[in-house]
């Protein structure tokens, strides 16, 4: 008899954002038992915060769009480091996935003929983002949630998984605690899907919430799975910068999609000053053309504000560093200017961007229909993550699957806006489907209770540590400042080596942090436990960033400004845990692209 409350499922899904919910729905469709676990309440995962939209080549607004263009856009945006098969599946399957949401009750904004409306976004050739004002994520998660609760899925809200359980090579389940009382629970399962989201809390300035401590990345890594391309962390160009307490909160790219422009303290539209070669013939060379593009002129090219996020973020940093920033260390993002072009601009802005209007009005006393916003880069998303098979989403650990932000492959060196929400749907569904297949083909794996006892003891350590030990919040804050400073937008061998050293020091301190109080809903204790995950992903990011001696996509090295390392070819960085517990890294050359996919890329220019 186990001393822990135990649940037994065919398939266990860890994470209830878009990816986890979509996986759970799919797995439940095969009449197997499904358990779904999340750290917050249902419907509160990061997916709820997504604003701009979900990318899918529905071709409702511009019939020239199709999966090939979406595929080529994704590959170009990712600097050709994406897994091409994933980019292909994603582009092909996203439209059907978006339509399916509608069958589950989602109500996207409409075109004049009553179809799903699509908007422009950075790096997408045609208007491609299905959306609901600027609250698309809410619509998506609510549609999935309200459909999901009728599929016989058992949901465990406010539970945190602290370790995966294995039996030999194979996955056997997971171990965690529930927040309310701090009780431990065992979830045994034939197949497990990780859908835990990202890592933003490793940085000081971020658009991410407390949940984003890289749990899935770390759980998978410790269970023997590989992490790829961890150096690629997306710094979204437009986060709020003022007042200090809201620094990092996202300002959707939709603002630029609707015609918003970036200017510096001299009033100059600096994005016209540096247009990368790869995008030259897709980008407007004058403001008038850019404006026409945002208003749906099909012959116009997109304004440089809608270049990829990595590039826009770097341009903003350059403006600030060269002394042309806004008063609080950002630049200006102006949507109010469109009143020169549209008669009822204020109303138009409030309708298209209601939550941005609300957010600035209530948090910064700024009326965006009248004044410009101040914005600067914020840590937003991680392209890197758990390595999975493109078709099945299975990791190197048999029976362990991953989908959504915690998995990697689709986005390469830089993710296009809107490609995450579609990623969740396409690969969440696939993960659910193949996890169910795995569960159907494999029996139960025995759980080793001695292994569980050891983990439980480890989890309780913060209470037993000496009160002299640090406060967990302090260590978290120190780590965040260090990562921001040394592993942020601009990196170098020196900064990264120093970061790796500091991570060791912080890890030492983290082992001794002290938690006060008891096990009931104890935020300090939870923060202490999250530290291990944050440190693991921070180390992985710094190590991968050190390995890639080039500046490409979201990864910039001051000491290697060139895009490619000479003769290195195109590769992914791969991180794995060695048997002695240390982190190792290697390079994996990217195989030659399938011929038909090469042709598409060549055709799309």
């Amino acid at each position: 008899m186990s001393a822990y409350e135990t649940y037994d499922y065919d398939i266990l899904i860890i994470g209830a954002g878009g990816a986890g919910l979509r996986a759970a729905i799919e797995a439940a469709a095969s009449n197997l038992s499904v358990g779904l676990i999340c750290k917050s309440l249902l419907g509160k995962a990061h997916t709820v915060m997504a604003e701009g939209g979900v990318a899918a080549a529905l071709a409702n607004v511009d019939e020239r769009d199709n999966w090939r263009v979406h595929f080529a856009d994704t590959m170009r945006g990712g600097q050709y480091l994406s897994n091409a098969r994933m980019a292909e599946l994603h582009a092909k399957e996203a439209p059907e996935q978006v339509r399916e949401l509608e069958a589950w009750g989602a109500l996207f904004d409409r075109t004049a003929d009553g179809s799903i409306l699509q908007r422009n976004f950075g790096g997408h050739q045609y208007p491609r983002l299905a959306h609901v004002g600027d609250r698309t994520g809410l619509e998506m998660i609510r549609a999935l949630q309200d459909h999901g609760i009728h599929q016989g899925i058992e949901v465990h809200m406010e539970h945190t998984i602290v370790s995966l359980l294995k039996n030999g090579e194979r996955i056997a389940g997971a171990f965690g605690y529930e927040r309310e009382k701090g009780r431990f629970k065992i979830f045994s399962a034939k197949a497990v899907v990780l859908a835990t989201g990202g890592i933003g809390k490793a940085y000081k300035v971020t658009s991410n919430s407390w949940e984003y401590t890289g749990d899935g990345h770390s759980l998978a890594y410790h269970a023997g799975a590989e992490l790829i391309d961890m150096e690629f962390v997306q710094f979204h160009p437009t986060g709020m910068v003022w007042p200090p307490s809201v620094r990092g909160i996202l300002v959707t790219e939709g603002v630029r999609g609707e015609g918003g422009i970036l200017t510096n303290s001299e009033g100059r539209r600096f994005m016209f000053d540096d247009i990368p070669e790869l995008y030259k013939n897709q980008t407007a060379d004058n403001p008038e053309e850019g404006w026409r593009y945002t208003q749906g002129d099909r012959d116009a090219r997109r304004p440089p504000e809608l270049l990829t996020r990595d590039h826009v973020a770097r341009c903003i940093v350059r403006e600030v560093e060269e002394g042309r920033g806004s008063p609080h260390g950002g630049v200006f993002l102006d949507i109010a200017w469109i009143k020169e072009k549209l008669p009822n601009a204020a109303e138009h802005i409030r309708r298209k961007l209601p939550s941005m209007y609300h957010q600035f009005k209530e948090l910064a006393d700024i009326d965006i229909t009248v004044e410009p916003m101040e914005v600067g880069p914020t840590t937003h998303y991680i392209m890197g993550g758990i390595r999975v098979d493109a078709d099945t989403q299975m990791t190197a650990v048999p029976g362990l699957f991953a989908a959504g932000e915690c998995a990697a492959g689709l986005h390469g060196a830089n993710r296009l806006g809107g490609n995450s929400l579609s990623d969740l749907l396409v690969f969440g569904k696939r993960a659910g489907e193949y996890a169910a297949q795995f569960a159907a083909e494999n029996g139960n794996a025995q759980i080793d209770t001695a292994q569980v006892d050891a983990i439980a003891a480890e989890v309780l350590k913060p209470f037993e540590n000496s009160p002299e030990g640090d406060n967990p919040y302090q260590i978290q804050a120190q780590l965040q400042e260090m990562m921001q400073e040394l592993v942020g937008i601009a990196r170098s061998q020196e900064s990264l080596t120093q970061a790796l050293e500091e991570i060791q020091g912080l890890a030492e301190k983290a082992r001794a942090v002290h938690a006060i109080g008891n096990r009931e809903y104890n935020a300090g204790w939870h923060t202490a436990l999250d530290l291990d995950n944050l440190l693991t992903v921070s180390e992985a990011i710094a190590l991968a960033a050190l390995e890639r001696r080039a500046s490409i996509g979201a990864h910039s090295r001051d000491d290697y400004p060139e895009k490619e390392e000479p003769r290195a070819g195109k590769y992914n960085t791969v991180i794995q845990k060695t048997p002695d517990g240390t982190m190792t890294i290697r390079r994996n050359l990217i195989p030659e692209l399938r011929e038909d996919l090469q042709t598409i890329i060549a055709e799309m220019g």
Binding site: W104, E139, Q359
Partner: protein, 246 residues
């Protein structure tokens, strides 16, 4: 930087009381920032829910100086400076710990309601066509972030505790989003009348006043639902009239 005193509700279902904390307030801070600062510096084990810090997820509901609000959208500069600020959990739900309450009832009630049931797709491409103007009002309901502040203030739940007989404003908004959905085919009027207790609502509009998403809960969701219930069960002539005139 100004020092401000907070009186925060601390404890669990068995025993809880206000505890005072003092913390520094800087420009632009919201109540949630102050709570986080207190948590990080003085009360590591303080229980509080939050996620987005931008009014999008509906996690951080509380009663601030007695008013039901999102902590992340309540600016310190909008509160009186000369007296301590009280922060309490939502009072209409059982306390778990500190500022965290057990809101699971809302999820259970929703699960029992009839789900969305679309008519078969009727557009050529296997989907539906819907006019923007026909979905505007449903989109209003779908803005709901499930913060449950409306449930917290509704006297039918808060004072009369009719949780078994009344689903509360949030779930009327949900029912309205389904009933008025242009492609939904289900009929939920019998449940609204019998098990959901829409008759208990006496249109005080307290729910509408606290909704951080500015959903006109009473006028746009509850009253039209009440009318439909009346038409369906008490006034068949009016029902016919409405069908023909719409």
């Amino acid at each position: 930087m100004a020092k401000t005193t907070f009186r925060i509700w601390r404890g669990d279902a068995n025993h809880a009381k206000f505890v005072e904390y003092e913390t520094d307030i800087s420009e632009g801070m919201v109540v949630l920032d102050a709570i986080h600062r207190i948590q990080a510096e003085q009360a590591n084990d303080l229980a509080v829910r939050w996620n987005c810090k931008a009014g999008k997820c509906g996690s951080c509901s509380a009663e601030i100086n007695g008013n039901p609000k999102l902590m992340c959208m309540t600016r310190m500069s909008d509160l009186p400076e000369d007296q301590p600020i009280t922060v309490e959990p939502m009072r209409a739900f059982p306390l778990i710990k500190d500022l965290v309450t057990d809101v699971s009832w809302n999820f259970k009630v929703k699960e029992k309601m009839k789900p969305f049931t679309p008519r078969p797709p009727d557009a050529e491409d296997g989907t539906w066509r819907m006019e923007q103007e026909d979905i505007d009002h449903v989109q209003e309901f779908r803005k709901c972030i499930e913060c449950f502040l409306c449930q917290d203030v509704c006297h039918v739940l808060r004072e009369h505790e009719l949780h078994e007989e009344f689903i509360g404003p949030r779930l009327f908004v949900y029912a309205a989003s389904l009933e008025m959905h242009p492609i939904d085919t289900e009929n939920r009027l019998a449940e609204l009348k019998d098990t959901d207790g829409i008759g208990y609502c006496n249109i005080t509009k307290c729910c509408t006043k606290v909704c951080p998403e500015h959903i006109t809960i009473t006028d746009n969701a509850i009253i039209p639902l009440k009318e439909r219930v009346v038409d369906e069960f008490y006034d068949p002539v009016k029902k016919l009239f409405r069908i023909f005139s719409s």
